[in-house]
């Protein structure tokens, strides 16, 4: 088992700080500011996915995994998009 052996210790605390700050920003944006709904949603979702990305890449060590694991892990993503996209179409296309 040699995960991370050749690297310097991963920036766990830095990522934690990032997650913390992003969460606070999210809450502030959602509760205090009054940006138009659509931008609010896009902005918040982008931040959420970035946070999720941070967790996956640093805490779940994807960063140090072989590329083929990345490939495997990304298999459900198109399926998720297909499902949500099609079913939303149901509602929005007259």
């Amino acid at each position: 088992m040699s995960t991370g052996e050749a690297h310097k210790p991963p920036p766990y605390m830095l990522v934690w700080a990032g997650l913390f700050v992003l969460t606070i920003m999210e809450v502030l944006i959602a509760t205090v500011t009054s940006i138009p709904k659509i931008w609010l949603v896009i902005g918040l979702m982008a931040m959420a996915f970035y946070k999720a990305y941070l967790v996956a890449v640093y805490y779940m060590h994807l960063k140090w995994e072989p590329k083929r694991l990345w490939l495997l892990v990304s298999v459900p993503i198109p399926l998720i998009m297909i499902l949500i996209f099609v079913v939303l179409n149901e509602i929005f296309v007259p």
Binding site: R68, V75, P76, L79, I82, L83, V86, V87, N89, E90, V93
Partner: protein
């Protein structure tokens, strides 16, 4: 989670599996040996296959002789049959339960565990040269989750209100409330049972995928894997990603029924179509789960019995992957009439049409494989060729339904029922017959009786077509499916003789299956002893004793070539085992390049 932990503890304690005799309970009941688990799945799902067949027989009585007393009906409780002086007549609510349970049991408890539970477990480790599954104990858990699920499902016949009666698709809001179906607890048992079974399949899928990716023997590259293993691998991925969607939907439906949430209940704003989308998003990949392993098995048998390499191995693999992927974008073809946005219907029609193409590739490749072959027409080959022949019919009838305007007329008619049975019985079940017969010697060390098998084959292929071919015609005359008494409709009354004809054929068909059942059990104990490689096959499972010992391979096999090198000029026999070293290299043990860590092409 903790089971995986235990797995590790187990592996850590045992290290290598040792070969001393295990106590009875560990060997036959809570076994972690993939071959024993495969057999367990086989016996349980054959039992369910018989149950499903009996349910169908009862259904066919009502359809062939609507409203007439059913022989033996007096034995069933009054909740199912209405007693009259002449005998007992089937009640409509019982008919609905029969349809639902027939579909559910056949799909989830017979065909799926046979293809995935039996052949997945039996073939994957043996064909890739592994000692066992990656997580043997999880494997055992997978089986022992399926059993209670089956018991729950069957027990629902005995509860107040009877078994689930909203079709195997369980459309909401019909399935939400007993007010609509008259079924209360039965519907909930159905949901609970399928959720548990789903978890069982999921655990199995995790195991198969890990095994195929990580446990291949040295030299067993992706493109040297037998097609059966390829198909089972892609199937496992489909299960892994489709079953959780079903589980989520089942749980939401269960909540709607029990605690009164509103997901699918229009009276509080829920969306009935959401259920259909979720169900079919799972459901269409599911039907490919039911055909891909069958295709793999058939490829194996055909190439072997034709003594010829499979035609276009690479495109066969790509077709499997293609079906696996396209299977995710066609689910809407079950919903053309559902009130779904009709524009969406068009896109689903096009994608559904496209999925005929990989199936076409496979069909033509099978044909080209037997072309200029040396066909040994023994029973596994006959079943496999019947698969090809019947799958063509079932697949082509799919094209009618894929065309949206034609589907307007034939949706929810017996045309669909004919399609289902051509792909599932003519397809999957014939492949299962082929597979069981082909690998029977590996499982039990004995051959099945060839004469009896040929009798069974002849009777089944004829009677089967007499049963299901006319269903196309019924559908074209407009006969709806899931209908208790079609004579209620004036325009369907003339179909009575044809329905009766079908029913009589069904009774004979079911009777004919006893030949196979007898042969199966007789051969386990009395069959002719089989050698290690009775079919002169190339793949790894035939290099080990029949049945293989615990741990499968006495020493790590090394693979030198693809699985279908039949009649190769390089070999002096008409087969060329994957493990046989090429003549250029002397077959001396020391010269085999480091067997333990695979070469880079081992990926």
């Amino acid at each position: 989670m903790s089971t995986i932990e235990q797995e590790m503890v187990h592996a850590a304690e045992g290290g290598h599996h040792d070969h001393h005799e295990l106590p009875f309970i560990r060997k036959y009941i809570f076994s972690t040996d993939h071959k024993m688990i495969a057999k367990q799945f086989m016996f349980v799902s054959l039992f369910f296959l018989v149950i499903g067949g009996l349910l169908a027989t009862m259904m066919r009585w009502q359809l062939g002789y609507p409203g007439e007393p059913m022989p033996g009906g007096m034995l069933l409780p009054d909740a199912m049959m209405a007693p009259t002086p002449n005998g007992a007549i089937m009640l409509p609510e019982f008919y609905n339960s029969l349809v639902t349970m027939h579909g559910t049991i056949m799909i989830f408890f017979a065909i799926m565990p046979l293809l995935v539970g039996l052949f997945g477990n039996l073939l994957i480790p043996l064909q890739i040269g592994a000692e066992d599954m990656a997580f043997p104990r999880l494997n055992m858990i997978s089986f022992w989750l399926a059993v209670p699920a089956g018991i729950l499902m069957l027990s629902s016949f005995a509860v107040e209100g009877g078994a689930a009666g909203a079709g195997w698709t369980s459309y909401a809001p019909l399935s939400v409330s007993g007010e609509w179906t008259g079924v209360y607890l039965g519907q909930q048992l159905w949901l609970a049972s399928l959720t548990i079974l789903g978890f069982s399949s999921l655990v199995g899928a995790v195991n198969y995928i890990t095994t195929v990716i990580n446990m291949r023997a040295p030299g067993m590259t992706w493109f040297r894997m037998p097609l059966a293993t390829w198909a089972l691998f892609v199937t496992a991925i489909l299960i892994l990603l489709a079953i959780p969607i079903l589980a989520g939907a089942l749980i939401m439906l269960l909540f709607d029924q029990t605690i009164g949430t509103g997901f699918f209940r229009p009276e509080v704003g829920g969306e009935p179509l959401l259920w259909q989308h979720l169900f079919w998003f799972f459901g269409h990949p599911e039907v490919y789960i039911l055909i891909l392993p069958a295709m793999g098995i058939v490829s194996e048998v055909i190439s072997n019995r034709a003594r010829k390499p499979i035609f276009g191995y690479h495109s066969m693999v790509l077709a499997i992957i293609g079906i696996g992927f396209l299977g995710w974008i066609v689910w809407g073809h079950h919903m053309f009439m559902s009130g779904m946005n009709p524009l969406l219907g068009t896109s689903f029609m096009i994608s559904t049409m496209a999925i005929a193409v990989p199936s076409a590739i496979k069909t033509f490749n099978w044909l080209a494989t037997i072309w200029k072959g040396d066909l040994h027409l023994d029973s596994p080959m006959l079943y496999a060729l019947a698969f090809v022949s019947m799958f063509i019919i079932g697949g082509l009838s799919g094209i009618f339904m894929a065309s949206t305007p034609v589907d307007i007329y034939i949706h929810d008619t017996y045309f669909i029922v004919a399609h289902i049975h051509y792909v599932l019985f003519g397809g999957s079940l014939f492949a299962i017959f082929a597979g069981i017969t082909f690998w029977f010697p590996k499982m039990f060390g004995r051959m099945m009786n060839e004469t009896l098998n040929k009798v069974h084959f002849g009777l089944t292929i004829v009677l089967y077509n007499l049963v299901f071919w006319p269903m196309h015609n019924l559908g074209l005359q407009g006969m709806m499916r899931r209908i208790y008494d079609f004579t209620q409709y004036e325009y369907l009354a003339p179909l009575q003789p044809m329905n009766q004809f079908i029913s009589i054929s069904v009774f004979l068909l079911v009777a004919a299956q006893s030949v196979y059942a007898f042969n199966f059990f007789w051969s386990i104990f009395r069959g002719e002893k089989a050698s290690n490689n009775p079919w002169d096959s190339n793949t790894l499972e035939w290099t080990v004793p029949s049945p293989p010992p615990h741990g499968n391979f006495p020493e790590m096999p090394v693979v030198y070539r693809g699985p279908y090198e039949y009649s190769s000029p390089e070999s002096d026999t008409d087969f060329y085992p994957q493990t046989k070293p090429p003549p250029s290299k002397p077959p001396v043990q020391e010269l085999i390049p480091e067997p333990v860590t695979p070469t880079p092409e081992g990926f």
